[in-house]
C-alpha cells in the first residue's frame, strides 16, 4: 500500500510536526501511505482541526432553550417560533480573495450558501463584512471593486438577496483584505438534516461539478505522485459556477423534502476528505470510497489529488438504500452530474480504494477529533502599554465643527455604502421589508407575522486597543442594531480573523477577544451557534488588527413593528438613550481628524446594555418610535446626520 517513501522533508512540507507524525503511526499501527499522509495533513491542519483555537473556542456559551443546533455541524440553528427555525453561519475567504479578488469572493459566497442548504434550509439572505487598505491606493481600489462584483454576481445568480453588511478601510488590511460571507436560511423543524453518514449500507453519492486539480493544498513538491506537469496545471484559484450551484440547491432541497437521504455535506476545505470523514465520524460509522467512480476533469489524477482537490460546487450525499432510482431522477431533472462512489460501513473506518487497491484505511474519528491540541503562549502586546498613555485633554478643540462633521461623514468607513449594495439584488424572494442602509436588515416570513432581523458587525480598532473590551462592545453593537430595529437578539455566528497564532502577542489578542465576546454573549443571552476561525492574516508580515466579525439574528413577533433609522417627520422629539459619557479612545474622530489610533475603547456595562435593549424592544412593541438609530462610528453627530439624510425622498433636519 506504500507509494512514495515518506521522508522527514515530505512530512514537514505537509505541515505536520514530528510528534504529530508519530501519533499518526500510533493510530494506524504502521507507517502511513502517501495518500494517508495527505489526508491527515489536511484534516489536522489548523483550518480543519482548529487545534490551536479549540481550547479557547470552548469558552463560548453555546446553549439556550432556543438553540436547536450549536457549533459542530455545517451551520447553527435557532428556533424562532411557529415551528420555524433559522439556520446561520459566517465563513471567511480572505486568502483566496487576495490572490484573485473576483473568484475568491464569489467562491466564498458559494461555500457559505452550501453550508446552509446542506442543513435542509432554503437560503433567504446573504450578508458580508469586507475590510480593505487605504482607498487612495490603486491596488486597494482594484481589490474593492472586484471583491464586491464577485459577491454580487454569485449571490444575484443564486437568487438569494444580499441584504446587509459592512465595509471598513484600515491600513493593516492592505495586503490581506478580509472577506467574511454570512448566510441565513429558514426551515421547518421537521426538515432539519444533519451532515452524518447514518445507515450502514446506504449509498454515498457524489453530485455536482467534476473534480479537478484546483486548490490542492499541502505539499507542492515533485515526487512520483505529483509530476511536474500536474503541479504546473494545478491552478491555485478556484472558479465559481453559480449556475451549477443553483441546480445543486434546488436538487438538494427536493431530496430533503422527499426524505430520500440521511445526510448531506458540502465538499468544502479538503473536499472529499473532510466531507466523508466528518459525515462518517458524526454517525459513528465508516465510509468506503471507490475513487475510480469519481467524475474528474483531468486524466491521470492520483488518489492523493482526488482526495485533496477543492474544486467548487460538489456535494456528498448519503442516500437511503433502495431510493437510488428516485434520487437519480432528481439529479437528472436538474441536469446534475452524479455517481455512487461508495457506501456506509459499520467499522468506523474511512477506506479509500481505486479498483481493488486500498490507498487509505483510517479511523474516521482519528481524523476529525484526533488532532492534538496546543496551548499557545500568550503575551501582552508591547504596543498596548504605549497606546494607553493617551490624554484626551491634549486633543485641541476643533476650530470648525462643521468641517469636522463633513470630514467624518466622507471618510470611507462611515460614508454611505450605497455604491456597494446597489450592486447586490437585495429584493429577490420579495421578503426584504427593511432594505440595506438601516441598522439591520428585516425580512418578513410569508404566511406568518414573524420577522427576522440580521446584522454583521465588527470594530477592529477597539479590539486592537483592548481585545477584551473590544470583544464585548461588538456583541453589544450587533445586539443594539437589532434592538433599534425592534428585534430581540437570539444568537451569534462569529468569524474570527487574526494574525499568526504562534506569535504570543497575537494569541493574547485571540484569547482576550474570545473572553470578551463570551462574557457579552452570556450577559445578553445570545449564544454562539456557529462560526469560523481565520489565522495567518498578515500585511507586510505584520498581523492585521484582531478582527472578529459578529453575525447576529433577532426575531420580531410582529414584522409590521419593525423600526428604521431615518427621521420620518418634522416636529418629532429626539431622545438619547443610554449613558451620554464621552470617550475618544479608538474613535473614528481621533483617526480621521488627528490620524491617531490610541487610548482605550469605551468601557462596556453589560447590565445597562441589557436594560437598553429591553427598553428599545418595549418602545418598538408599543409602536411609539418613528425611528431609532444606534450610535457607533463617529458618535452622536454622525448618527444624527445619518438619520436626517438616509431617506433620500424625505431629507429632514434636526435641532438638538
Amino acid at each position: 500500500m506504500t507509494e512514495t517513501r515518506i521522508t522527514p522533508q515530505i512530512i514537514a512540507q505537509h505541515g505536520l510536526t514530528e510528534e504529530e507524525y508519530q501519533k499518526i503511526e500510533k493510530i494506524l499501527g504502521r507507517e502511513p501511505s502517501f495518500t494517508e499522509l495527505g489526508i491527515f495533513s489536511v484534516m489536522w491542519s489548523e483550518h480543519c482541526s482548529y487545534k490551536t483555537s479549540k481550547p479557547i473556542l470552548d469558552r463560548f456559551p453555546t446553549k439556550a432553550p432556543w438553540v436547536l443546533q450549536g457549533p459542530g455541524e455545517n451551520a447553527g440553528i435557532v428556533d424562532i417560533g411557529e415551528g420555524l427555525a433559522v439556520v446561520m453561519k459566517v465563513e471567511s475567504h480572505n486568502h483566496p480573495s487576495a490572490i484573485e479578488p473576483y473568484q475568491g469572493a464569489a467562491t466564498g459566497v458559494g461555500g457559505i450558501l452550501r453550508d446552509i442548504f446542506t442543513m435542509g434550509a432554503r437560503p433567504i439572505a446573504l450578508l458580508n463584512s469586507l475590510r480593505f487598505g487605504d482607498l487612495r491606493e490603486a491596488r486597494t481600489r482594484y481589490l474593492f471593486e472586484h471583491i464586491v462584483s464577485g459577491i454580487a454576481d454569485y449571490g444575484n445568480c443564486m437568487g438569494v438577496p444580499t441584504v446587509g453588511g459592512e465595509v471598513y478601510f484600515e491600513d493593516c488590511y492592505r495586503d490581506n483584505p478580509l472577506v467574511n460571507a454570512m448566510c441565513v436560511g429558514i426551515i421547518k423543524h421537521e426538515n432539519i438534516v444533519k451532515g452524518s453518514a447514518s445507515g450502514v449500507g446506504n449509498p454515498v453519492i457524489y453530485v455536482g461539478s467534476t473534480t479537478g486539480l484546483d486548490g490542492i493544498h499541502g505539499a507542492t513538491f515533485a515526487s512520483e505522485e505529483l509530476s511536474e506537469a500536474s503541479a504546473a496545471k494545478r491552478p491555485n484559484v478556484q472558479i465559481g459556477d453559480p449556475f451549477t450551484e443553483k441546480l445543486l440547491l434546488e436538487a438538494s432541497l427536493e431530496l430533503i423534502k422527499k426524505g430520500l437521504l440521511t445526510g448531506i455535506q458540502d465538499m468544502g476545505a479538503a473536499g472529499l476528505t473532510s466531507s466523508s470523514s466528518e459525515m462518517a465520524s458524526r454517525a459513528g460509522n465508516g465510509i468506503t470510497l471507490n475513487l475510480e467512480k469519481v467524475p474528474r476533469r483531468e486524466a491521470g489524477m492520483t488518489p492523493y489529488e482526488i482526495m485533496l482537490s477543492e474544486s467548487q460546487e460538489r456535494m456528498l450525499v448519503v442516500g437511503k438504500a433502495g431510493c437510488e432510482r428516485e434520487i437519480e431522477a432528481i439529479f437528472r431533472k436538474w441536469d446534475l452530474q452524479f455517481a455512487v462512489i461508495g457506501e456506509v460501513t459499520d467499522d468506523g473506518v474511512l477506506r479509500i480504494k481505486e479498483g481493488d487497491r486500498i490507498y487509505a484505511e483510517i479511523p474516521a474519528e482519528a481524523l476529525t477529533d484526533g488532532a492534538p491540541q496546543y496551548r499557545q503562549v500568550s503575551q501582552v502586546p508591547a504596543y498596548l502599554e504605549e497606546l494607553h498613555h493617551f490624554d484626551p485633554e491634549q486633543i485641541p478643540q476643533p476650530a470648525d465643527y462643521n468641517k469636522v462633521l463633513i470630514d467624518l461623514l466622507t471618510s470611507p468607513s462611515i460614508a454611505s455604502k450605497e455604491w456597494v449594495y446597489e450592486q447586490y439584488d437585495h429584493l429577490v424572494r420579495t421578503d426584504t421589508v427593511v432594505l440595506p442602509g438601516s441598522d439591520a436588515a428585516v425580512l418578513r416570513i410569508k404566511d406568518s407575522e414573524l420577522g427576522i432581523a440580521l446584522t454583521i458587525d465588527g470594530n477592529a480598532r477597539y479590539l486592537y486597543l483592548d481585545p477584551g473590551t473590544g470583544g464585548k462592545s461588538i456583541i453589544c453593537e450587533a445586539a443594539r442594531n437589532l434592538a433599534v430595529s425592534g428585534a430581540r437578539p437570539l444568537a451569534v455566528t462569529d468569524c474570527l480573523n487574526f494574525g499568526n497564532p504562534l506569535k504570543p502577542e497575537v494569541f493574547y489578542q485571540f484569547e482576550r477577544a474570545v473572553d470578551g465576546l463570551s462574557e457579552a454573549c452570556e450577559a445578553l443571552r445570545t449564544p454562539v451557534i456557529s462560526g469560523n476561525v481565520s489565522f495567518y492574516n498578515e500585511s507586510a508580515n505584520e498581523a492585521i488588527y484582531p478582527t472578529p466579525t459578529i453575525g447576529m439574528v433577532g426575531v420580531l413577533a410582529d414584522v409590521s413593528k419593525a423600526v428604521t433609522a431615518w427621521f420620518r417627520q418634522a416636529g418629532d422629539l429626539v431622545y438619547l438613550l443610554g449613558r451620554p459619557d464621552c470617550h475618544l479612545g479608538g474613535s473614528e474622530y481621533l483617526k480621521t481628524i488627528h490620524g491617531k489610533v490610541a487610548g482605550a475603547p469605551p468601557p462596556v456595562d453589560l447590565t445597562s446594555e441589557l436594560k437598553l435593549i429591553e427598553t428599545l424592544l418595549l418602545l418598538a412593541d408599543k409602536r411609539i418610535l418613528n425611528s431609532a438609530h444606534d450610535l457607533s462610528d463617529g458618535g452622536l453627530a454622525v448618527a444624527l446626520a445619518e438619520s436626517c439624510v438616509m431617506n433620500k425622498n424625505n431629507i429632514l433636519g434636526a435641532e438638538i
Binding site: M158, F243, L247, E422, H426, L427, T430, V433
Partner: protein, 226 residues
Amino acid sequence: MKYGVVVFPGSNWDHDCYHVVKHVLRESVEYLWHEKEITNGFDCLVLPGGFSYGDYLRAGALAMFSKIMRSVKDFADRGGLVVGICNGFQILLEAGLLPGAMQRNKTLKFISKFTPVKVVNNAIPFTRKYQAGEVLNIPIAHAEGNYFASDETLKRLRDNGQIVFQYCSPEGEIDGASNPNGSIDNIAGICNEKGNVLGMMPHPERCAELILGNDHGLRVFSSLSS
C-alpha cells in the same frame, strides 16, 4: 384567470411571481417546468426573472432552446397573454418574440434599486388599470438592461405604440439623467404589435404589496382580470 409560471434552470423569481398571483391576486397559478409542453387552459404565461442557465453566453440566450419555448411561441401566436420580466424579457428577445436586444448596462455594473418608470401605453391588457403617463416607482435588478434596437425597429415601436414603459425622473421627465442603464429612448418595457406579449425589465412582482414599499406593480397582473 389561469397563470403558468415557467421555470428554467436558474430562474429565481418564479417563487415571487407565483406568490403574487396566488396570494395577492388570489388567481389560480401553476409552475411549468421548462421541458414540458404547455397544455391548453392557460390564460397568461409568466417568464420570470432570474439567471436562466446562469445567463452564460448572453442573458436568456440558452433558455431560448428549452422545449417549452416552442409552445410559448405557439401560445403567443394564438393571441395568448405572455409577460416576460427581466430575464423573461431577455428570453423573449432572444427567441424573437419581441424585437431588439439587451446589452450590458452602461455602468457595466448590476443595478438594484427602486426606479421611476412612466406608463407610456395603457391600452394593452397588462396596463389597462394604469393612467397614461402615470409614474410608478418599481425596483430594477439587472446587469444587462441596456435595450438596443435598429433605427427602423425603433421607428416601428414608436409608430405602433409598442413602447409601454420608459425610465423617467420622479416628476415624469424622460431624459438622459433618469436613464439607469443606457437603454435607447429610456425604454424599460415593450410589447409586440398585437399587444399580447409584454417584456419589461422592472420587477412589478417586487412591489405588489404595501409591506414591500408600494403596490405600484400589482396592476400589471390585476389589469388582466376583469
